[in-house]
Symmetry: C2
Subunit: 514 residues, 2 copies
Amino acid sequence: MAGSDEEPGAVAAREAGDGTGAAGHPHPLDRIFHPRAIAVVGTPSGDAHGGNFLRSLRATGYDREHALYPVNPRGGVIGGLPAYPSLLDCPGPVDHVISQVPASAVPGLVEQCVEKGVRTLHLFTAGFSETGDPERARAERSAVSRAVSAGIRVIGPNCMGIYVPGERISFTGEPPTEPGNLFLLSQSGVNAADTIFRLGSVGLRFSKVVSYGNGADLTAHDFLDYAASDPQTELVAAYIEGVSDGPAFARALRRCAREKPTVILKGGLTGAGARAANSHTGSLAGSTQVFEALCRQAGALRVESMAELRDVLLTLTTSARRVRGPGVGVLSSGGGFAVLSSDAIARAGLEVPELPQETRRALSQLVPVAGTSVRNPVDASFDGSQGRAEGDPDLLRRAVSEVARASVTDVIFLSTSRVPWLTDSASGAEDERDPYRSARELGEQVAALQRDLEVPLAYIQRERIWGDIGPDLELARTAYSGGVAVYESIERAARSVAQLLAWRARRDGLPDIL
Amino acid sequence: MAGSDEEPGAVAAREAGDGTGAAGHPHPLDRIFHPRAIAVVGTPSGDAHGGNFLRSLRATGYDREHALYPVNPRGGVIGGLPAYPSLLDCPGPVDHVISQVPASAVPGLVEQCVEKGVRTLHLFTAGFSETGDPERARAERSAVSRAVSAGIRVIGPNCMGIYVPGERISFTGEPPTEPGNLFLLSQSGVNAADTIFRLGSVGLRFSKVVSYGNGADLTAHDFLDYAASDPQTELVAAYIEGVSDGPAFARALRRCAREKPTVILKGGLTGAGARAANSHTGSLAGSTQVFEALCRQAGALRVESMAELRDVLLTLTTSARRVRGPGVGVLSSGGGFAVLSSDAIARAGLEVPELPQETRRALSQLVPVAGTSVRNPVDASFDGSQGRAEGDPDLLRRAVSEVARASVTDVIFLSTSRVPWLTDSASGAEDERDPYRSARELGEQVAALQRDLEVPLAYIQRERIWGDIGPDLELARTAYSGGVAVYESIERAARSVAQLLAWRARRDGLPDIL
């Protein structure tokens, strides 16, 4: 491997090893994300929409710019498009084939792909090595090696394939078609779809997403290597169950994590999890110790759940990424919440330092009773004679800026309990205000607070009791568009910030994006 | 203390020390929960409902069975009831006074309480020792000792007071008026109200709830001692920030935990949390080590967050309380979910044991492809040629009963991803079914599964992406009414079951309720 005194760009270019990664030379995998036409082979004819893939590709508008061919032996019209009896009947060239045929029909389809000159075969089809049946594992190897030897790259089997918003390619629902800077690779289709929807609905955007299942041909190291060189991609997240080629994986992870923040969730690190991973994608999982060491050496940020993965991605793409130390200034309302928040922050390895005398003096001017509720946590309810901070943006702004000015403060966690649409449903009072509008206003207020601050600010949501969670999402989205993270609990906020700090402390240098 | 070979009842009766606790002799504190009339002194006249307390007492119907007097110097009619200029003007006897007057008016109110022959003074009024101001701390001591010396018990200051569903007394919103068996004491009013709403909306019911704030007179040990002897109470939960009298607290906790499952959340166990607790309720908090040892010796179950407290209460009041070992049989859909669930269960200290050969053989009859997805976790989606288990109650019932029969299975965690109201909002498809009805049906199905099983079954919810969380609650409520716990995540389910097992393993004997 290259020494650390070299230019990162030079290292990256050389490490790719195959002449790729330098400007003007697209990575060989780049082709698979830009197919000129897609055929969905085995499109179900019984479903009005032609099944999940056809429906999703049409919903995001792929067929408005490219050829999209449903293939079904019965022909006819499926999901509003003319269907062809076989791949070979499709009238134009096909770069990308999505296979929904049964496992037994895959060998025949591979031959058709070879004849048709297909670039990429995405096998949604399952029933191969993940079953544990040696016969089916052999069938997987045989079909995949036939395709690969003919120059066709294979994604899967047993996976959802690719989501490329810039090309209007998607595999589920109606995800954003606006491209972004996050590359996600996942052995699980559900985890991929879930992340697209959850982060997408907050406002995060993706360069590409790949669900690659059993990874019989293209696998983690291929996608990490691609992500490292992809100019659209500025950060990378991965859900991995198994690593087929340890050294190649270590190399690709190192290259990727050196240039771009790379967040890894490894499933199957416990005995039971490893058995499940073997059942799911035929993966042979390693130990926690080995994987942890690998991530440390590579400079990747390892997380332990999908929620943590999402939280860290929020942290990395908002003002919270600028946090420089463990000191949290807490502004919240509700004494019990303040106590338990302090405990939770301390347990996560951060601090809730006592605010200096001068800050407390300044804050005392803003609260009705001189006392200890200005020491940190600061009582941001201010619901005495001077009114409520949440109802008085100026009072809250002044309190936040005092806390931010203190030298002990590295990040501010703000949490107001008197969120209108929460409070009133709990207390039984009628609220005549539009809860979506209230949420948007709070989100805008939070974003405006951040604009005046040097230190990062994050907003902490309270747990919802009942009702529509739409306003919570509206708040998160509005704040995020202003560069502020909204976390679902104080525990999760503290954990995510602590993970970022620990990861940064372990690294020599940081990717450019930070 | 009494030896462990004595009759629990005899021990309890003697330990109460004041001749209480035996049948027929109500505990001296019992009076405070059964006031014959309540006056709300300092009822705001500007609010149409007379403020939170008057509104809540009327909403739960206290005034339909008892006298309820708003007291405000202006008199008139407040919240639909005639208001009196002072406590002394109330036409009948008053047992319970809720004080909403400012701190400076409390000494005068105490004198009126003495003259009126009041039993209990609940000081919602704040601005005393919790401010850290020595003058205000002195004022608290002075007012409280004057009241106590005249035979009046004081709840607070700085608290929400009592919720007694059987007496239609409440302090917030419209909580259930149906009484139950859980006694909750909390130094935080928000934590108390939150627990009432969250657990109440699932179906858990309370004997009494006390929010006692600074605890200047009545405090944790008084309420624990009462809860131990209260025949309505079968389990006890406490949120505590500070302990004023260590030996008395240890005695009361031991007595209570010996007879009834007692769950304790101690806020302020970290340095930052202790400072916050001091600001909130003037409490001086101790160390984690000391408190942990105290709970162990007493046989109490210590938790670290309000979410854990609620989860453990769910566990203790559903079939999950019967769990006898660490072996979890997992039936779920989604391979990635199975992998990460297995890891999470193992990290919580439980096990996901491989199912024996005969169980796997039986399960193989129910799934389309013979393979490893029947080893545990078991793939409960069955979405191959034989249809979906969630859509086929009989297939799911057979699979669950096979897993339950295996000797390695101590508890079953069931999680189906194809919950109609979840799946369809994510995939963008229209669902014509009523999501509340679907939720209810799933809850009933889960409860019906439990009826046929020896081992406990718990249902694990998937995280909601958007929309109304009403159906989630409907599922939880329906399952709970059938004795089955619904947890919000696999991590929380595993942690709660592990906490129960660890707590039980530490105890010599178990309370009768278990």
